[in-house]
Symmetry: D2
Subunit: 349 residues, 4 copies
């Protein structure tokens, strides 16, 4: 009856899934027709998420492709690593379009996946089919695609901050150091000592130094932009807050580039892209300034003493770093305006 | 050109004003045509709120009624106490509809206002004209009104939690005790020692015990519901979080009423009102479950040992407790569906 | 060689145990000679608590009474409910003095214990032997005792705030309503969805309304103070912070009592007790003002309109609500000054 | 009567001053005989700090040298930049020993001070007399000194993390990049929009990129260690927490150095220094693990792919970064054990 495109969300009981529900609720062209959870199928989603009372009261569906195909045209996979590699092929074969929010189809090299994720890689054919959905960089590939792999949260903030300068040859790719910080929701909803309130509140800590599985994803795209392999230093930290990622990036400048040159370069690079906002001189973005929205805000400092540029990039890890970017990819895949249903003003304060 | 109703927001640089901007950005029937600040007129709002970059770039307007009337049909006053009492009459006389978010027109008694606010009261004629805009209770008065006084944040959570039981005679009005807790954004954007980060983080404190200016507002409406004057005990606390109010309320039950009786009574009372959600047995709402939305969630416990009911009511103080409720009032005033532009899913987590 | 009294801590890997280690490190009369954990025996405590590096490097001991007796004279039991009821008798029989921080020996009625804790009660003889160690109220019993049951965190804040007025007959015991709020560390170190960072941060929630297992403990002592059985309304809430409890208490005043009467009564009642501080008129304590210390701060408001008194009492739940009070009890048991090793200035901010 | 050394604290109503009061309360060799505030002299310190009730009830003194000399032998200056440069000479001339916690005497070059602080520098003679009190590096100079300038909070965490490697020539000084993060208490107690609770909670932001006044202090000491001038890239961020600094540092390794080489080098360098703890392989310190204590914890990662070392150093900014280190300096000046009165176990959680 409805002319809207039907959407299924697999992994609805995780933070990524529940954020898709929030954001898609006001999308003008689609309707979420199936919320799916293999672990909680048959129970109402409001059992685990009372905030959805009166909004989504129906029972959770199971993951079977045929059943999903009856209700939906597009599937979002908001599942942990290792699950999408099994489910995505079935959904594609059933004729569904698939957007995978996990890491399973981001790395084109199965060897790299197995090395960094410690799990069997997805099949080669599907790896090749999956388009890396960083729409501001690879939008042409996303357009019309039926299988998109949504970038990781850290790579999104980091790559949007680095690619224009790397592509322009303005920074030395070998000099790149990335100091990244994330709110705790990036760790998902699974309870553990590492995400226990009393351990994280009033605490700031480093983790997985040089070992985060987002490193090869970042280096894959930077290498593509630089035209040569790139190796980076990448540190991740947990911030005592729920949402938000900041990537503070350092690199040695090549050529004679001022602060306003950098600002100009990025403004030009992202011209017409609504979700990247370049900050004026002397202003650096804070994570709260993009909270709840699909923006990525970027600011710069150029230090003549050291000939280095400092690039500060922020996103909401659950929106631009996950569910929002996935919807943006859907919009581009479908040929819709990429901002459709995503024009949220950041919630401030 | 646009067929949308023009909106002016006075006090745009406060948290209430900036939340109106956020919420109204996606309202289908209106357009914010003037954002106004007497203190910052002539400068861009993005100076103080960089999160609005690319969203609202124009300069702030001044408060003059004639200028506003050229651009707008409805004015929201998100100004501190003592300001609306001066501005509202001018705007009304200029033919604008006015929704006042401050406390200036809530109390019908000038004496009470002066006693609790320590400022000169608004003029008697306008006090009488102003409709108290708790739409779930006084919706009939709001419909078609041109001047609405938006309830306070604490009274909203508290009254939605108490009025049905008081009206039904199920609780003894003389026994009501209200223990309220608020996030810090309720104190506004003005910096002070009392809202200094290091003083509030990892801290929980009581303030204005028995002295909060929202007390007479609560008692005015409870008295109206009870048909007799009501005096309450009301305590306010600051919670180390930004948004959210919880009102935990205690009263002695009159008659033989079970937990499911209370749930039934409230469900019936709020039937058809989209923004009040009644929780099932054994479930109490948490403030995060309404974060960023216009919902008021209410849960109950009945203690047979003491013959008391405990009522727990939560809202987002900046939405249902301020900007969202003001927009709801606008919708009702204009004869639109009261949920128009307000169907936000709470942002969780 | 050392003349110090040897101390064993059972349950060292919980928050209560690790706080005992922190506080006892500077106690002039004792030395912690054994840190014990049944689950982690044989591993260093720094594996789970790197903050103890360089402070306590030795391996964790096991729970055997004979081994403990070789090293220690006093045992602190910082174990979950249901464990102390099994261990305490063995340690007492081995000739050790025992201070139990769990709920196993607080309620003198096995029936009440089984009803509220849902576990088998401790043996009757030991229940009778265990002294309820609220030293400001029952100090005479604690002196010279060899088995003390340390009060719960909520009861400590609540009872210190209510007993003087109840004993004096200044408030109606049947009117008492207790609205309590706690930091998250009270839930211990076990990871669960209910203590997951992203669920609690920027959130305030009620839990176990009328059902918390501390209710019978509070009513036992209030009944003792009143001379008649007392039934209360008691609500618990989780505050997004790590440490701190506030109990906001309401009661109807009996007789003609002013605010300064209440302040005078409490100052007199607690004269000579270093850890209870009574606040002057118009000042209510905040939890941060006792953070890290053994203080209980109490403030009052008297409302002539309702004839009710509001009593606000705060403690650090891990110090005065657990480890600090246990050490205070040890001091009193041993005939030492009750403040020995406990004169910490609150950590502010 | 007391044989203890008398201590005066100037600037007692700031966070540094109040932390000195907390820490010195349990120092066995000294007694705080005068707490001083030019702005609040004559009023009790408990007016602004109720947590000191029952601990320090006396009125605040004024800043006059003669009066102070009557009561004290040592003065701690916990005043804002620009104040100590005026007061310290008077106190030294009055025969008092002085420990200055501000930035006024850290930089030996008046030009650098004026450039980075934007205020007139202190007199040259006193600048030369002031010993830079990073006791782990310059302890020999501190011993017996009568005028010590206490290092800044960021420099303390940063320099303890870098000096051993720079001195050993294991890292290229020109490659050093410092990404520093601080809790909000480092900004002091003065209320401002930048430290307003609702602006900082659930927010992470960069500030003063390449412009922080601690940069020349860091470079002064690094240059001293390297034997050549050093220029660094230094970024500061605000973390939504009260206490704690983490400095994440990056540098290119010179020579063939493994992770265990670095750990060994630092363990040797800090041998016998109680307050620096070196973490084992694969463990990075978190700020909470030093909360409330005088520890500086340091961890390492070596990346063979990039030939860079990542060094993570944490302190409590109010203790090792201010008051605790000042007391440590006092201990060294007086020939006492440097840990006297500072053996606090970190408060965890």
């Amino acid at each position: 009856m409805s002319n809207k495109t039907g959407i299924a969300i697999v992994g609805s009981t995780g933070y990524g899934g529940v954020e898709l529900i929030r954001l898609l609720a006001s999308h003008p062209q689609v309707e979420v027709t199936s919320v799916i959870s293999s672990s909680s199928a048959g129970t109402p989603i409001t059992d685990g998420y009372p905030h959805l009372a009166g909004i989504r009261e129906e029972l959770l569906d199971d993951v079977e492709p045929a059943k999903i195909k009856e209700k939906a045209d597009i599937v979002f996979l908001a599942t942990p690593a290792g699950v999408a590699s099994k489910l995505a092929p079935q959904y594609l074969e059933a004729g569904l379009k698939v957007i995978d929010l996990s890491g399973d189809y981001r790395l084109k090299s199965p060897q790299l996946y197995e090395q960094w994720y410690g799990k069997p890689a997805a099949g080669k054919a599907y790896l090749e089919q999956a388009v890396f959905g960083l729409a501001e960089i690879y939008g042409d590939n996303v357009r019309g695609a039926s299988f998109v792999s949504n970038p990781g949260c850290y790579p999104t903030a980091t790559l949007l901050g680095l690619v224009p300068a790397v592509k322009a040859g303005w920074i030395d790719p070998a000099s790149i150091i990335i100091d990244a910080k994330s709110g705790v929701s990036g760790a998902g909803r699974g309870a553990s000592l590492g995400t226990h309130y009393s351990e994280l509140n009033e605490n700031f800590k480093a983790y997985k130094v040089n070992k985060h599985q987002h490193i090869p994803e970042i280096e894959m795209v930077l290498g593509d932009a630089a035209g040569v392999p790139v190796v980076t230093t990448f540190t991740t930290h947990l911030v005592p807050m729920t949402r938000g990622i900041m990537s503070t990036m350092y690199a040695t400048i090549q050529g004679d580039r001022s602060l306003s040159d950098f600002i100009g370069l990025y403004k030009q690079f992202y011209e017409g892209r609504s979700f990247v906002r370049i900050r004026p001189e002397g202003q650096w973005p804070a994570t709260k300034e993009v909270w709840g929205s699909n923006y990525c805000d970027i600011g710069f400092a150029v230090d003549e003493r050291t000939n280095r540029v400092t690039i500060v990039s922020v996103i909401d890890n659950l929106v631009k770093g996950a569910a929002g970017q996935a919807i943006q990819n859907m919009n581009v895949m479908m040929g819709w305006d990429e901002t459709l249903g995503l024009q949220f003003v950041p919630a401030y304060p």
